[in-house]
Symmetry: C2
């Protein structure tokens, strides 16, 4: 990547040119040549967008809520970007055709940029370049960036560490699972959304969630976690949800916790970058060959993995 | 850890002494002093147990199926161990009291050893020492080891890479999600179990799963993935499931794919061990301080994370 190409691309991204944003995201997702140079060039223009993580079980209506928020923010003249890493999201083409058609409307809006990213090994979890993809959208001047991912397991922790505000979307049918999931989804929510709340049992589930919230230790910035009800398919509750997001955003800024969160994100990013570079530089062709040549020996218990690894590190 | 203590502990583990197994698992889970020395000492006695991964959404009945299999294997005089890393599993104490009581019966059997492990950051995913915990049970002479984990996201991939045979447990109610989850759970199953199959819609869901299986490329060893029905709470279908597991085990051995799988597991273990040792040895106190001292500077965009990381590597 020449400096001229880079400068040109950065300028166009900052001017919010959709094709240039898409090009940059492809470079970053594929880790193509110039990937890091581009991220270096964009870094100083990042940090302005508010990042909203949206997670919850499959079928909770994460995409419908996202779509509702996108339309509302568009009406308010706000610029938005979406990174969908949910294998079940219509944005990523993972779900039924009907869903996909339903979602396209917000994608066509001038101030909305939607990008789907493949999940790691196609098996869920945040893919590793999601944070970097958000940086591109951030540098392009978006006001809000939504990261949508299916939530159980490691991806929850990832999203909570990446987003400024984390929404957990549940449905009345999640009732049984609410208790079960408390160790996971319950820990990361800044705002709960009980979607499809026109269905039976909504009040009971909302009450259960509230009970669990009361058992939690307070957040570092004493934010009061609330449970909002929505019926996103009918656009009910979206306005209130957006108000609550704004309230959380302003709370984060006033309490100074946003700065702490962002520094934690930065620390995580640097740590991961270093781990990646250390391992990549360690695993030269000779070392890969040496490992492959010795696998049989270790399988046959002639040595053990721990002694073998010590040997490899000594050879370094 | 003295050599005498180690040899004594290894001997007792090999004699299947429950207290010694528990002690070893605690050392490994906490990564206490002597942790690696113990694993080195046990390694040559591992590799005999067949490892069964059990995963699926919360509420699918993973623990009930596990319990059924444990009782059956116990009746057949087989020795079994369970590592439960599912935050929703009664084994780990994550669920309701009723469940927990229901499960204790198999835990009291002489030839069954059950251990729960905390999940990584209490947010799901396989905790990092699960493989090592299985090695302890393996060295203690277990015939089968069951690893139970809640399945969505990264934990699925982990379990599929750790287990010899992966069971995915679904319920008729998963219907909606089956399509949605195909990118995840669908990819890793060696055997599907449709539990609670006395409920409405079981046949339709079974048919859907079968359709999805047909769309998949064949496994490297041409194993035919099947969908079994069970009602584990009434002990229905457990015998057939166990037969199918034995069939898969024998298929893996005949095709030679078990050896390939085990070598892949070994390679993964060595790679992770190396990454861990490289990063631990990199992050001395001076480097940690240097990072903390400079976080503010990077936040203020005086430099960027990429340039900063290059600088840290050069300093090395």
């Amino acid at each position: 990547m020449t400096d001229e190409f880079l400068n040109n691309l950065v300028d166009k991204i900052r001017a919010s040119d959709k094709r240039s944003i898409a090009k940059a995201l492809t470079i970053i997702e594929n880790e193509s040549e110039g990937n890091e140079k581009l991220l270096k060039g964009l870094y100083k223009f990042t940090g302005k967008a508010h990042r909203i993580g949206i997670t919850g079980p499959p079928g909770a209506g994460k995409s419908t809520v996202t779509n509702g928020l996108l339309k509302l923010m568009n009406e308010k003249g706000l610029k938005t970007g979406v990174i969908a890493v949910d294998p079940t999201s219509p944005f990523t083409g993972g779900a039924l055709l009907g869903d996909r058609i339903r979602m396209q409307d917000s994608g066509l809006l001038e101030n909305v940029f939607i990008r789907s990213m493949a999940t790691r090994g196609s098996l869920g979890g945040l893919c590793k370049n999601v944070v970097e993809a958000c940086d591109v959208l951030d540098a392009s001047g978006k006001d809000f960036i939504i990261i949508e991912t299916v939530g159980v397991g490691q991806s929850e922790l990832d999203i909570a560490q990446t987003a400024d505000t984390t929404l957990v979307i549940l449905v009345p049918e999640s009732g049984d699972s609410v208790q079960a999931m408390k160790a996971g989804l319950m820990e990361i929510a800044d705002i709960f959304v009980l979607n499809k709340s026109d269905r039976d049992g909504a009040d009971a589930v909302a009450a259960t969630i509230k009970n669990i919230i009361h058992l939690k230790p307070p957040t570092p910035d004493n934010w009061i976690i609330d449970v909002l009800k929505s019926t996103a398919s009918k656009n009910i509750g979206i306005e209130e949800l957006f108000e609550k997001i704004l309230e959380h955003k302003s709370h984060l800024m006033k309490s100074g916790y946003l700065k702490t969160k962002r520094q934690q994100q930065l620390k995580k990013k640097i740590t991961e970058l270093l781990t990646n570079k250390l391992t990549v530089s360690f695993w030269g062709e000779d070392k890969k060959k040496y490992l492959n040549d010795n696998l049989e020996l270790i399988s046959e218990k002639k040595t053990d993995p721990y002694t073998f690894v010590e040997g490899m590190l000594d050879k370094k």
